[in-house]
Subunit: 223 residues, 2 copies
DNA sequence: GTCTATAAACAGATAGAC
DNA sequence: GTCTATCTGTTTATAGAC
């Protein structure tokens, strides 16, 4: 049943299971958990209502499974750079790596439509945490933030575990995440009909200018 | 009936109406619109279920009324500085005013428990706009952002209506708003049990350092 | 494993007594 | 204006046929 390793041909049950997770992810992210009915999820997954109880044991446990799927998918891609790549000792190299990481995160958050479902699901959990939040926090958010703290510290000479460094990194993340959360506000105020590549570039450039200005200021203060 | 001016003693109907708005504001902000039942709202307001239909015409229109109440309440306090106070021509004064505005906004967003219900309600609308979002955007968000753009422009010499200025101001707002939205993430990562005055001070100081560094960098580039 | 039928609880809206 | 009773539809969960 696809439980021994990832090489078996997916069984019918596995396919239904995956379709339910995908549908749940999309709908929970789009409309919220309470506003999404199990009927709607089953319909989108081309499955029946009973299958949610059969495969997961209920609506809430489907949400947990969605969180697990997000963590597993992203870590498959990100683990090499998140856990194994050494933090550069040279400040200039660390700065370049921090810049690159911020750019990647911005691309992920603002533009990339492939992972839009992931981002919306995560943001809802961040704003209103459930058990699914624990899964995402422990499996993803903490690792990303910790990594960024160490790279930032290598670039500035600060202590990677200090409160100041942690908060500083959060302000960087905040600048990026805000444009996803307040997407509608930004579009309306700017008169944009979408946040496409051109708009994302302006946003990322501005945010990175801020980050680099803060980084320089911090380095000058402590030379 | 309290419709002629604001000086009449509030009638029984007015009191029920106000209690329903307050309860709706709180519950919609806390749990979300879909997850909140009209029965729950009526119970919290010490009113009956029928009163929501009678006073507002339904659950959705109660949400609109909540948005209207937020706009009216905040503008009563903020209008003098938002609309009537002239933008300072002197860059140094403008900078000080921008700094003060950012501090106020941070206090409002992060600490102030009096308006916590307002903030949570607004953030939900921002993330998933309904008709209530239109009310808040047009009555509040646009005015605040426009004002900040003009003060920023006076401090830097930039064009207040340029895209660059608008986005720059959004990155400032984003740094502050993020700590409210991702409150749980920050608390968990920092090992904080609350974001009280001491924590808020650290956050605001860090964010303002960033803003001031960006402002200086921008001014040096264009002297 | 899939799918249908149904149970039991709950939703929002409304009619009508007071 | 308040409050109760009730209508109509929807919700999740489950039992059981296939």
């Amino acid at each position: 049943m696809g439980k021994r390793d990832g090489q078996d041909a997916p069984s019918s049950g596995d396919r239904t299971r995956a379709a339910l997770i995908e549908a749940g992810l999309k709908l929970f992210g789009e409309k919220g958990f309470a506003a999404t009915s199990t009927r709607e999820i089953a319909a989108r997954a081309n499955a029946n209502i009973g299958s949610i109880a059969y495969h997961f044991g209920g609506k809430e446990k489907l949400r947990d499974a969605c969180a697990g799927h997000i963590v597993a998918t992203i870590r498959t891609i990100a683990d090499p750079v998140l856990e194994r790549l050494p933090v550069p000792a040279d400040p200039a190299t660390a700065e370049a790596q921090f810049r690159l990481a911020a750019e990647r995160m911005a691309g992920f958050m603002i533009a990339g439509p492939e992972v839009q479902d992931f981002v919306q699901f995560i943001l809802r959990e961040v704003q209103q945490p459930t058990r699914a939040f624990d899964i995402i926090y422990e499996g993803l958010i903490e690792a990303v933030h910790r990594r960024l703290c160490h790279v930032w510290a290598a670039a500035t000479g600060d202590d990677p575990d200090s409160e100041a460094t942690s908060i500083m990194v959060f302000t960087v993340i905040g600048q990026i995440v805000y444009f996803r959360i307040a997407r509608e506000v930004v579009m309306r105020r700017m008169g944009w009909r979408e946040i496409g590549p051109a708009q994302a570039r302006l946003i990322v450039t501005t945010a990175l200018d801020n980050v680099m200005a803060a980084l320089s200021a911090r380095r000058e203060r402590k030379p």
